[in-house]
């Protein structure tokens, strides 16, 4: 007997296919490139990411309506496209800031770039997965690559320890996530989000304890990458130990991917459990913001401080998830682009300060930067303002959208708490500014940044300011994203 297999619409996965070819090809090319010229591998990877980015962007116009393929396990909509661009942008910037750094650390290897591309592939699958199994495989592909990247400086004890901690916690949480998926399957008989939603509606399973428990487990599983409380404690150690470009990468891209997957699962899969997940996320949101900001106050190491600040930012973004309205999704989407600019920028500066024997991540390393490198200090101030959410920066617009969404949904107390937290955040961001402007510099060896790093800093710096002053283009893209994404909810 022959069964006709429906031919999947492969055109929708062209970016992913390109990514696989690029990553595999890169590894093979790497075999023929001599040790001292590994930089070339980085350039190829960067060019590839740009190409995939353009190809992905070309879908935007055609995707006013979501399209599914592979028997409904893969969906392409503007929401997925928007986040894919966030990942590709972050990956591109990370490659730029890695070029010199890897040479200083003497770990200049082709595997680094290949793993980064595989990680991006995993995230691209995550945001497009319409089936929990596909989403899970995306998460695993991303996570495995990130574990290896975090421990890439394998002769550095701090780095190895950080990677091991991350890995052990990650696989444990991955088990919980998988358990949650099986519970959803047990309760509804499907892993496909649309079908899960349909069965819940049809059989009135909104209060089914199995599903409520599964919801907890899914939140936990994705919460690790998001670094939301109580799964945030890995963040400072890993951020400090990992190679700094990877720290920058981890703080933006996997977080965005996990948020996108969370939003898709919660909005399109178990949206009828909204009363339950609202309570859960409300508590998590409040705790995450507060813990992140208060702990960041006490840090002396800039990488650790930014780690806690990224925990706090996860809390702000949860406001948008909680709001569950169009402005909320718009805010999440916008915020992640803004966050990619400012966070990559802040970490990029830490790399700029990386010299032989000095990691450049202590607050004292920033002392007197305004005198020695005035331009650098100004750029850093832009990133800090944006992180603190002060106009005229992209961070302000993003935060404004998130707060507005939460107010629209009636979460007044939470927004008040978030505003209070933003004030607390000012203090620790100000500490860096103070070190730069009000303290005198210590004699330091000459800085020698790579051209890639300078280019990356200029790009993210300009974007941070540009989209703060004139947010309209990005806003309307984010609005389209939110519009098609929320269309099917009513």
């Amino acid at each position: 007997m022959n069964v006709t297999v429906p031919m999947p619409n492969l055109s929708l996965v062209v970016p992913e296919i390109l990514m696989v070819i690029l990553a595999c090809g890169l590894l093979l090319v790497d075999l023929f490139i001599p040790k001292d010229r590994k930089r070339v591998v980085g350039y190829i990877a960067l060019a590839g990411v740009v190409v995939v980015g353009v190809v992905t962007a070309a879908f935007w116009g055609k995707m006013a309506q979501p399209a599914t393929t592979f028997s409904g396990t893969f969906v392409l909509d503007r929401f997925a496209l928007f986040f894919k661009e966030v990942f590709l942008f972050t990956t591109g910037i990370t490659i730029l800031i890695s070029l010199k750094y890897l040479e200083i650390e003497k770990v200049s290897l082709g595997e680094y770039y290949a793993l980064m591309l595989f990680c991006t592939l995993g995230m691209m699958i995550m945001v497009s997965g319409a089936d929990l199994i596909v989403i899970y495989l995306g998460i695993e592909t991303m996570a495995l690559s990130v574990y290896v990247l975090a421990g890439f400086m394998k002769f550095d004890h701090k780095c190895t320890e950080a990677a091991l901690k991350y890995f052990l916690l990650g696989v444990f949480i991955s088990g919980i996530l998988l358990y949650g998926i099986t519970l959803i399957y047990a309760a509804t008989g499907s892993t496909q989000l649309a079908q899960v939603a349909a069965v819940i509606k049809e059989k009135g399973l909104a209060k089914n304890p199995l599903l409520v428990l599964a919801m907890f487990m899914l939140a936990a599983g994705l919460g690790l990458e998001i670094a939301m409380a109580p799964f945030h404690f890995w963040a400072p150690d890993v951020y400090e130990g990992a190679p700094t470009p990877i720290t920058a990468f981890i703080s933006v891209a996997p977080k965005a991917a996990a948020f996108a997957a969370l939003v898709r699962i919660f909005y399109h899969g178990i949206q009828l459990l909204e009363p339950q997940w609202q309570i859960l996320l409300w508590i998590i949101c409040a705790v995450t913001m507060t813990i992140g900001n208060v702990t960041a106050l006490m840090q002396q190491n800039v990488k650790r401080m930014l780690a806690y600040s990224s925990v706090a930012h996860a809390g702000y973004i949860l406001l948008g998830v909680l709001a569950a309205n169009q402005v909320g999704v718009q805010g999440i989407a916008f915020y992640f682009f803004a966050y990619a600019f400012m966070n990559m920028g802040a970490f990029g500066l830490v790399i700029y300060l990386r010299r032989e024997n000095i990691v450049g991540d202590d607050i004292d390393d920033f002392k007197g930067l305004a005198q020695t490198h005035p331009l650098l200090a100004v750029i850093m101030v832009v990133f800090l303002l944006s992180l603190a959410g002060i106009p005229p920066t992209a961070g302000f617009v993003g935060k404004f959208l998130l707060f507005a969404a939460a107010i629209k949904a009636g979460f007044y107390w939470l927004v008040a708490l978030a505003a209070l937290n933003s004030v607390v955040a000012l203090f620790y961001y100000f500490r860096i500014a103070k070190a730069m402007y009000m303290q005198s510099p210590e004699p330091l060896p000459q800085l020698s940044p790579g051209r890639g790093l300078v280019l990356a800093l200029v790009v993210v710096g300009v974007f941070t300011l540009f989209f703060g002053i004139y947010p309209q283009p990005l806003m309307s893209l984010a609005k389209d994203t939110a519009h098609t994404f929320m269309m099917f909810l009513s």
């Binding site: 007997m1 022959n2 069964v3 297999v5 696989v20 595999c24 590894l27 075999l31």
Partner: protein, 121 residues
């Protein structure tokens, strides 16, 4: 409900036979043989030099990559069983699917080989 497992009856019988034979042989030998214990008989080498150090040595870490790659390619092989079962029904399309699956892993294999992961350094 459980009819399907009647097809495994021969396996069960074979299993029972194997265990029965092993246990039976030992039991039979135990009953028949003369038993005259002697400490000299129990030493590792009845007529040789007694061992000087423990024979159990630490396994070298070099095995790690080998074990890891074995595990991964074992998991890969697992997917060939269901493929073989339905190959007849899905035809060419199934062939392409499996071809891609193996092609991707082949790149990994080539990489591991070229990097000398399979060598005993």
């Amino acid at each position: 409900m459980y009819q399907h497992i009647s097809q495994y009856t021969p396996v069960l019988l074979f299993f029972a036979l194997a265990i029965g034979f092993g246990v039976g042989a030992l039991l039979f030998a135990y009953l028949v043989r003369p038993s005259k214990p002697d400490p000299e008989k129990l030493s590792p080498y009845e007529c040789g030099i007694p061992p000087l150090i423990s024979v159990r040595e630490r396994v070298p870490i070099r095995f790690f990559i080998i074990v890891m790659l074995f595990l991964l390619f074992d998991v890969e092989a697992i997917f060939m069983y269901p493929w073989a079962v339905v190959y007849e029904r899905i035809g060419w399309w199934g062939f392409i699917e499996m071809f891609l699956f193996i092609a991707i892993l082949l790149v990994g294999y080539v990489y591991a080989w070229a990097k000398g992961a399979l060598e005993w350094e």
